[in-house]
Symmetry: C2
Subunit: 389 residues, 2 copies
Amino acid sequence: MVIAQSGGPSMVINESLVGAVLEARKSARIGRILGARHGILGILDNDYIDLRKPSAAKLKAIAETPSSALGSCRRKPDAADCKAIFEAFRARDVGYFFYIGGNDSADAARIVAEEAEKANYPLVVYHIPKTIDNDLRSCDHTPGFGSAARFVASALKGDDLDNRALGGVKIDVIMGRDAGFLTAASALARERPNDGPHLIYLPEVPFSLARFEKDVLACLKRFGRCVVAVSEGIRDEKGVSIGAQFAGGEKDSHGNVQMSGTGALGDYLAKVLKATGKVKRVRADTFGYLQRSFPGVASSVDQKEAFAAGQAAVKAALAGRLAKGTIAIARDGGARYKVAFVPRPIQEAAKFTRSVPKAYIARNGHDVTAAFLSYARPIVGALPKCTVF
Amino acid sequence: MVIAQSGGPSMVINESLVGAVLEARKSARIGRILGARHGILGILDNDYIDLRKPSAAKLKAIAETPSSALGSCRRKPDAADCKAIFEAFRARDVGYFFYIGGNDSADAARIVAEEAEKANYPLVVYHIPKTIDNDLRSCDHTPGFGSAARFVASALKGDDLDNRALGGVKIDVIMGRDAGFLTAASALARERPNDGPHLIYLPEVPFSLARFEKDVLACLKRFGRCVVAVSEGIRDEKGVSIGAQFAGGEKDSHGNVQMSGTGALGDYLAKVLKATGKVKRVRADTFGYLQRSFPGVASSVDQKEAFAAGQAAVKAALAGRLAKGTIAIARDGGARYKVAFVPRPIQEAAKFTRSVPKAYIARNGHDVTAAFLSYARPIVGALPKCTVF
């Protein structure tokens, strides 16, 4: 078998890798367990790690380490890539391919699987879900989201306390190109009625600068201060991204515009508020890559689920459930939080994304509902308690 | 007594507040314990919290909460402010004034103390040190620094792993207007010889764009990737701040230009690298206010020392050691880490700042020395272990 990681890293993507590897080690039907470095690039470059070698203790330590231990890539395979992949696989007698990543990685795995069928190369392909954006249609929630959300909610807790001390407006720009789940999770920071974030802007609600100004001024009037959580992916009424104009237009081979790794959107929103002349102190922070890589803040539920998703993919592949599958995560509707890992056709995870449902967005357009909080809380886990006078 | 907090918040400034309050509660010579909200503004506005009221459990919870629980300000008191302060103090029979903050706060406390002498108002004034910048001349290191450094070093650990996965250049902009201690602390992130940060730029070393480009290209050649830690306070050969030109020119009443709360410096450095045409992927993050407010990552040594500094100030004031003092933190030169809290004249902490000593800066101008690591390690404490293949 070959396993690889693709797309943006997360705090728990290595849990999925190790879950899959330890499950595979249990089976007599798996020979070599090869980890391709930097996704499919490692297959094309013949760059592998022998995953039978590391001790269980080393694998455990890697599982608990953020980012993609095998390295990652953002390559969409074309027909030529696939041909080269099957040649490489044939030379090593590879019958199973596991790809851990988001919707683009699922799509890459789907392409490999379909091209394998066309080429009559016998290959079982499983996608293992991962994305901090939480936007896979196949999952109630995705591994990686809970931990990134825990970082965001913790950060907002601290930032709200900072804003209490010095006042004014604080804008925090949060990851999520297409879906606002991570920005919505900032609401988990609140312990008291006057805690921030006071305003939450998601890509799912058309963003208007005029309304933003109005919202902020109303908040200043009410609380004497204002903490704003805003998604990097906010769009205007025409669906045009507000942030993309500042981001330099860099695109990956899936066609995604680079959004993160720049503070321009936050600075722009701060400038807009300062220009009103009605707000004295405005600061903007863009949380950036720390949201997916900061060590020591992972959600323990997220860690366990990421591990289980990796295990489930290998189990399903060995059981011959589907030739090309993904592991869907389904939540039991009961009062106690419980999830199931279900093999589903890979198409259900590929390419298309899921938005924050309407039921999770407050009517005023700048907050989340209690239903969202109930949804997110068990995934994110307990947050540090913060006390004020 | 009146106690207040001033300047930028930190993760442990409330430890100092609670240390002082609990120490004061032990003494029969202290009557009311009043916490002024938002520094001296609370005295001018008659806005106090009765600090005899909260239970020990509540105070403990507040000590562990980041940011300034009494609120903060950046006001430099003038003669009129002082006159109003003494009137307010006289009305409440205030004999002791404690001010927790950095060098500007020490200077504010010094002004209050000197004006009190001139006005024949009997007042013992103690400054309690706090600053994440670690730039008080009176202290081996300052409460607040160890915890902010722990955030920075943890962040760099995660970010270095992220950069391993996706490659290219990552620039992290770190707080510190005048002193590079916090940026230097990024070096604590390294566990392995090829770990980032690979380049560290401090305000103490004149920054040249040409040399920066050269350093980055050499690093890419050597490691195939490059993680840069750069201080928000870097200056060119003429001593002109590189970042200040982007920061909008906002100043506080101590004359400090606003540097944080914008991503412009990082974006500028990324643009410079992209413009060379020799670097494919460049991302920049500005860590911003999370460095001083993120809950749950405080250094336990820093917490204890911040608490002890608050206690020491009250003890020294009650012992009548100095009419206007500060608590200096001195490190025992022995092999085992040990510090002493020493009452010193307030002038030693006020106004002027301390830079990173030459012995802590590597000769190449873009790294720190082993001496710095030995200095910083016990203050910052253990960091999460990260494992790679």
